[in-house]
């Protein structure tokens, strides 16, 4: 379980958000939504301490990640897989080596075992044919899928997806959404999906965290979000959904 408690973050004088608290249960898929620039990516980078807050805690099974020594922190980070917004593949090595990369450094597996695991991973994202290709030659959607294979190759407990479908066509977005669902169900991974794509939220998430106005504005299940109307305290959420031109009731 991940508990986010009273997080506050600012860059110099610019407050990103404050007093952000929520929990993520084991096996749950949470979508963190909000407009561009509201600090969604900044928030998830706190979950594995890639960024440190001004105040607050992130407890991973009761342990405050910001208090860990660097060696212990690195161990903790190995429990996370991250799909970065730009995929963050290593351009100097090919697709196969990108996926094999964590296995070579963090396990004692033989070359045969590594090859088998990597090809399985690439098979899960339908990219076995691209194993020898240079990552610079891959399309945006293929790069995301390679990055997903790399993020899951060590079977992490938590998987963070930072804007997994941004810049992709609807069909490729659906393929990525299907993969997110498949990883959550088949590998029992706790998933945190940062997105401003309401369609993705409805497809993959169970719970929604909505950031706006430098605070956590709304939190609830997808069913509660669907049942929302344009009144009371969830008005900002409904405005966001309306602005995203998605008819939620449909």
């Amino acid at each position: 379980m991940i508990e986010v408690k009273n997080l506050k973050k600012s860059f110099k004088e610019n407050l990103v958000w404050e007093d952000v608290s929520f929990t993520i249960d084991e096996g749950e898929t949470v979508a963190i939504i909000g407009r561009s620039g509201c600090g969604k990516s900044v928030l998830v980078k706190h979950l594995n301490a890639l960024i440190y807050p001004d105040e607050g805690q992130v407890l991973i099974e009761g342990q405050n990640i910001f208090e860990l020594e660097y060696v212990a922190l690195r161990k903790m980070r190995q429990r996370f897989g991250v799909l970065f917004q730009g995929s963050a593949l290593f351009d100097s090595i090919n697709t196969f080596e990108n996926v094999a990369f964590p296995l070579r450094y963090f396990t004692e597996k033989s070359e045969e075992e590594i090859e088998s695991i990597v090809m399985d991973g690439l098979g899960m994202v339908n990219l076995t044919d691209a194993a020898d290709q240079n990552t610079a030659e891959l399309s945006g959607g293929m790069r995301r899928r390679v990055a997903l294979a790399r993020a899951t190759v060590l079977r992490p407990d938590f998987l963070i997806y930072d804007e997994p479908t941004s810049g992709l066509d609807p069909q490729t977005s659906n393929e990525i959404n299907d993969l997110i669902k498949s990883f959550a169900q088949n590998l029992n991974i706790t998933s945190i999906v940062v997105t401003h794509d309401i369609h993705s939220v409805l497809e993959v998430a169970e719970t929604v965290v909505f950031l706006e106005g430098q605070e956590l504005c709304w939190r609830g299940t997808v069913e509660e979000m669907k049942a929302s109307d344009n009144t009371s305290d969830n008005k900002r959420l409904m405005n966001f959904i309306t602005a995203s031109e998605y008819k939620i009731k449909q």
Partner: protein, 245 residues
């Protein structure tokens, strides 16, 4: 950020690199690659720089000492000693600040802004051990080697220019070079090359590792890495001469 804060951040960065240097398994492959890139791939430019520096020095010294009763062997002495004490290390390092330093800052800067450094950290890697330590080690190992190459090609270039221009016969040139050869000069040159190798690679790693702001940010980091490396080389050269000579 003021100058003192920047210095502190650089010192902490070096401290982290030093603490990470025990993690040989993480960086051994990268170290081999870097030794090749910093050393082997720099050989052509180092040979060229050394040879032309020596050649120009011979011609200019010959012109300046075109006086009766001054033995021509003095040209060999001046050229070889200047190259061993000063030019072999300094000129080579200034050239390599552009080649090696710019490459390192651009590579790390691009990795930073494309989130590849974050990807390494998020996998549980020590990114400093993986990216910075092998580059700095390659610098301090290969720069002394390149200094020797530059010095040999410099003396060779000077000798060739002297013979071809008729300024000094080869026997006279070598006589002067041998008479004024002191092993300490070579040691001093090696020390300089070691220090300059450290300065260039560590400053460039620092600038690249903390690059921000996309393509423009990487460009700025690369420019700063090259300019600062050149300034620090000249500064370190002065300090070493003042303290040791």
């Amino acid at each position: 950020m003021n100058a003192l804060e920047k210095l502190g951040k650089y010192a902490l960065f070096l401290y982290r690199a030093l603490r990470s240097s025990y993690d040989v398994k993480i960086y051994k492959n990268n170290l081999v690659n870097e030794l090749i890139k910093v050393g082997y791939e720099s050989l052509p430019i180092v040979l060229l720089t050394g040879a032309f520096t020596g050649a120009v020095m011979t011609l200019q010294t010959s012109y300046q000492l075109d006086i009766a009763f001054v033995p021509r062997s003095i040209i060999g002495a001046i050229v070889s000693q200047s190259i061993l004490i000063e030019l072999g290390a300094v000129i080579t390092s200034l050239v390599l600040a552009g080649k090696v330093g710019a490459r390192i800052a651009t590579e790390l800067g691009t990795m930073r802004v494309s989130e590849q450094v974050d990807a390494l950290e998020s996998m549980g890697f020590n990114s400093v051990a993986f990216l910075v330590v092998p580059r700095v080690l390659a610098g301090v190992i290969m720069f002394p080697v390149l200094y020797i190459v530059a010095s040999v090609s410099g003396v060779g270039g000077g000798l060739l220019a002297g013979v071809l221009s008729g300024a000094v016969p080869s026997s006279e040139f070598m006589l002067g070079a041998r008479e004024f050869f002191f092993p300490w000069d070579v040691l001093f040159g090696l020390l300089k090359a070691f220090v300059f190798g450290f300065v260039i690679t560590s400053v460039s790693c620092y600038k690249g590792y903390y690059a921000t702001g996309g393509a423009e940010g990487v460009g700025n980091s690369t420019t700063q890495a090259t300019v600062l490396s050149c300034i620090y080389i000249l500064l370190a050269d002065f300090v070493l001469a003042a303290v040791i000579l």
